[in-house]
């Protein structure tokens, strides 16, 4: 899409008009939601089955669903870190707790995917309320580490003392039942729908994905979301403006917990399983890596980061020789991104396309840079 507009810009004066239109359109809520729908429609196909493209990615449908769920997780996490500036190193607590709550509810009370997912979400919110009372009194690193401590506490709690309920490291199995009693989630379509979306489970997850994107866009565009941002930029000033900072942090924390809980519930439905490893610190670490790698505070960033992470974990992992090094490569690129380019992959892309709009300046800048490099190498 952006490639077309770039080509247009070379045509002449009319291009200025088209750039402005594009700039206006791309920031509207409707455009964002529509592109998320388009993304869900095409993602699995492009990743796993489309000619040429899928040969490059070597993906498969199951991984596409996992990526969508983790994208929801990353979006929820980003709402707290990217928007509000609170780095939680323990977001696995919401993911794992929601997963367990969903599984336990399905096994002991009532098994219906939609209800189960909502129960997971509510459990995460309940945990959010309790942990916020402790966490929101702390700042920056203290907040991060104590969040990690709470998550680790829950991990070890679920692993041994609560083994009767959680089945410890064996985990819980959830039988799959039809959605609302009629829609079979495993049902595979034929024809165009089958090619694009494959089965009902993908549609089920996809709808939640679009809903989360819509909700987060709404928050970002609203005055309410702007208050989150102002807390990130300067908490003291926000308080001086007469706003109750604690209340807004609490709201952001709960919203984040709810979205992450949704992802946890979906994960339980998707894998038909809930296990203790979803509470482990590595889950919290993974989500930090994904979000920061993709680009903090943006909508596309966390999704791209999740994709890159799972591309490495699911696909590169299988490569001969190189597969052994996937996590090393990933963690090194994460470190490099934080070190040198805090805007992440999405930031690089937008900067690059912005530079492309003015090709002449890009050319002179590149020349300048090359000119800078050469004599320095000779003189010193």
């Amino acid at each position: 899409m952006s490639m077309d507009t770039i080509r247009n810009s070379f045509d002449g004066d009319s291009s200025v008009l088209s750039w402005e239109t594009w700039n206006r359109i791309k920031h509207t809520e409707r455009f964002v939601v529509l592109s998320s729908v388009l993304f869900v429609l095409l993602f699995s196909y492009a990743f796993g089955r489309a000619p040429v493209v899928s040969d490059v990615f070597q993906g498969y449908h199951g991984l596409a669903m996992t990526i969508l769920i983790w994208s929801i997780f990353a979006l929820g996490f980003n709402l707290l870190l990217g928007q509000t500036g609170l780095l939680s190193f323990g977001h696995a607590m919401f993911f794992g707790t929601a997963s367990y709550a969903a599984a336990l509810f399905a096994i002991h009370v009532y098994n219906e995917p939609l209800v189960v997912v909502l129960v997971g979400m509510l459990a995460a919110v309940a945990l959010g309320v309790v942990s916020a009372l402790l966490l929101l009194r702390l700042h920056t690193v203290y907040f991060s580490i104590v969040a990690l401590a709470i998550a680790q506490f829950l991990y070890f709690l679920a692993r041994e003392p609560l083994v009767e309920i959680t089945k410890g490291i064996n985990g819980l199995d959830i039988p799959r039942v039809p959605l609302l009693g009629i829609v079979d989630l495993n049902h595979e379509y034929s024809g165009l729908v089958g090619t694009l979306l494959v089965n009902n489970l993908y549609i089920f997850i996809g709808i939640f994905f679009v809903a989360v994107v819509a909700l987060i866009t709404r928050i970002r565009k609203s005055p309410y979301g702007l208050i989150f941002k102002s807390i990130r930029e300067n908490e003291t000033r926000t308080a001086f403006m007469g706003l109750d900072v604690w209340r807004y942090k609490f709201a952001a924390f709960l919203l984040s917990a709810a979205i992450v809980g949704l992802a946890g519930g979906l994960m339980a439905v998707n894998t038909q399983f809930a296990g203790v490893e979803r509470l482990y610190w590595s889950v919290s670490g993974d989500i930090v890596v994904m979000t920061v790698l993709g680009g903090l505070g943006t909508l596309a960033g966390p999704v791209i980061g999740t994709f890159v992470f799972f591309y490495f974990k699911g696909i590169v992992n299988g490569f001969p020789t190189l597969g052994n090094y996937w996590l090393l490569l990933l963690s090194l690129s994460f470190t490099a991104v934080v070190w040198a380019y805090p805007d992440g992959i999405w930031g690089m892309l937008t900067d690059f396309t912005a530079a492309l709009r003015d090709p002449k300046e890009l050319l002179t800048k590149t020349r300048q840079r090359i000119a800078d490099l050469v004599p320095n190498g000779g003189d010193r």
Binding site: I145, F156, E160, S331, V338
Partner: protein, 313 residues
């Protein structure tokens, strides 16, 4: 509980506290004086454990070393205990210059993220080179069983305290006293304290704070390296131990109150006591206990036990 039981219990508590303390002390000083949060401190513990292993014994490893057969010097436990901190001291200097220094002026969260990335990368590197299965330290004869002194044999009441635990506790006690003395009596310690109070002012008065900070960073590193050898011989050694030790250590530093060495010591002792009590009463809660303790303490005192900003107190 018999006297033997009590002594055994105390030494479990103290040895666990000692290990945490050796790692947390470096973290606490660097966090308190340089305002630098260093998750990569776990790398030093990890490196200490593996370098000690290479010095002490010669083992068959998995991973890239799988083909190489027996790898290691096999000099025994004492050389490992002495040489490893020296190696890690040098590693600490390198880490301060190339990783920590560029980040002193940056946001705390950036520091946390970068050092987290480095820790994960280092753990993965170790896993690739040494394999993912655990290794055990060879324990020399004199380290197993109860302590036995040359003349009097096993002191009364000490039969339940294993030698390795006694060694860990005594070493830690000496090293912690050394660091307190360093802060209180040496010129370098004074410079670190001045630099902590107001780095710019200290520099204007002609005190070079860079060197003392580097030294204290490297000393903290050497302590963590030593903890790696000791921890490796108490528990087993895997590529994941860096993260496993750094989480409780960070929690202890925050629980004790950042910048307060005394708080860190108290925090570590409490954690060890809690650990040993849980082992005795509710074994399933053993590993969750320290986090429960931290949650309780920080609920009651959000700024930690000693909410002090002065280092060396």
């Amino acid at each position: 509980m018999s006297i033997d039981g009590i002594v055994g219990f105390l030494f479990i508590a103290l040895s666990v506290a000692s290990l945490y303390l050796l790692v947390a002390v470096g973290l606490s000083i660097v966090f308190g004086s340089l305002k630098y949060v260093n998750m990569a401190h776990g790398v030093l513990y990890l490196a200490g454990a593996y370098i000690g292993l290479l010095i002490a014994s010669s083992n068959q490893y998995g991973g890239l070393l799988g083909e190489a057969g027996q790898v290691g010097l096999g000099w025994g436990f004492i050389p490992a205990l002495v040489l490893t901190p020296v190696v890690i001291f040098v590693l600490g200097i390198v880490m301060e210059r190339f990783i920590a220094k560029p980040f002193y002026e940056r946001d705390l969260l950036d520091q946390l993220l970068v050092t987290f990335g480095i820790l994960i990368a280092a753990q993965e590197l170790v896993a690739i080179v040494f394999g993912r299965t655990g290794t055990i330290y060879p324990r020399p004869e004199w380290l197993t069983g109860a302590i036995s002194l040359p003349v009097i044999g096993t002191p009364p009441g000490m039969s339940a305290a294993s030698t390795i635990r006694v060694l860990v506790v005594v070493l830690t006690l000496l090293l912690i006293l050394a660091i307190f003395a360093f802060f209180k009596y040496s010129d370098y310690g004074l410079a670190v304290r001045a630099g902590t109070e107001d780095s710019e002012m200290a520099q204007m008065l002609g005190i070079r704070v860079g060197r003392p900070f580097l030294l204290i960073f490297a000393v903290g590193a050497a302590y963590a390296g030593l903890a790696g050898v000791l921890g490796g011989s108490l528990f087993n050694v895997t590529s994941g131990i860096g993260m496993e030790i750094i989480i409780p250590s960070l929690v202890i530093v925050i629980m004790g109150g950042v910048g307060s060495l005394r708080g860190t010591v108290i925090g570590a002792l409490l954690a060890g006591l809690f650990f040993a009590t849980a082992t005795e009463l509710v074994p399933s809660m053993t590993r969750a206990s320290i986090y429960l303790l931290a949650i309780v303490v920080l609920t009651l005192r959000p700024n930690g036990i000693y909410p002090s900003t002065e280092i060396g107190q």
